[in-house]
């Protein structure tokens, strides 16, 4: 099966600019996650979707970050305006089943550099 697809792989922007990342999960996977991985850290959950509904966005900086999954398939994460501290790898992951027993599949991530 095809894996989780993310684009772009790399993005360099200046602070205060906006940027968007795209994720296409594995076909049929209802649950989709966006994680932020700052250099030297483990991934941190930003937002979790179940189909097209938000399950958890408690750690999403909503003043500048937004995410949507309109048709319950692919998803977009946006940052507007970007800050230097947003430099990180943004990982998308999806899960087909319910709960932690179902494997979590990660994409290769988008590396964002904010200058």
């Amino acid at each position: 099966e095809a894996g989780v697809a993310q684009s772009p792989r790399y993005k360099i922007i200046e602070k205060r600019q906006s940027v968007a990342f795209w994720c296409n999960p594995i076909s049929g996977h209802a649950t989709l996650y966006w994680y932020q991985q700052i250099l030297g850290q483990g991934p941190k959950l930003l937002i979790q979707f179940q189909n097209n509904g938000v399950v958890d966005d408690s750690q999403l900086p909503k003043d500048r970050f937004s995410a949507e999954r309109l048709k319950g398939v692919d998803s977009t994460l946006k940052i507007q305006p970007a800050k230097l501290e947003d430099s990180a790898v943004y990982l998308c992951a999806s899960r087909g089943g319910v709960g932690l027993n179902s494997p979590l599949h990660f994409g290769n991530g988008t590396r964002l550099t904010v200058t």
Partner: protein, 115 residues
């Protein structure tokens, strides 16, 4: 609140030597525990997981981990390291949110392998 601590930021071992990566967790109930590996520029790949039952868990690529409730630990081991094992390793604890699940990751341990 759930948390994961990986005390070692960077470990170097010789090829063929044994390996143990440490992981300590904080969780109020019986934890769901995971080890993931991340190669440069790649997403995370699941090595193994513990939900219940036998406290010694076998994973892919010859890795195993042992759950020790009394020590709140879930250390990863491999008897003989190969050069291809050089990567970053993340321990994670599963946090239940309703019927779904999220993972809380440690900061990771980078493994270097000497020839």
């Amino acid at each position: 609140a759930q948390s994961v601590t990986q005390p070692d930021i960077h470990i170097t071992v010789s090829e063929g030597a044994s390996l143990e990566l440490r992981c300590n967790y904080s969780y109020g109930a019986t934890p769901y525990l995971f080890w993931y590996v991340q190669s440069p520029g790649q997403g995370l790949q699941l090595l193994l997981k513990y939900f219940s039952g036998d406290t010694l868990v076998q994973g892919i690529k010859g890795f195993e981990a042992e759950f020790k409730r009394s020590q709140s630990s879930f250390n990863l081991r491999k008897p003989s390291v190969h050069w291809s094992d050089a990567a970053e390793y993340f321990c994670a604890v599963g946090a239940l949110l309703g019927s779904q699940g999220n993972l809380i990751f440690g900061k990771g341990t980078k493994l270097s392998v000497k020839p």
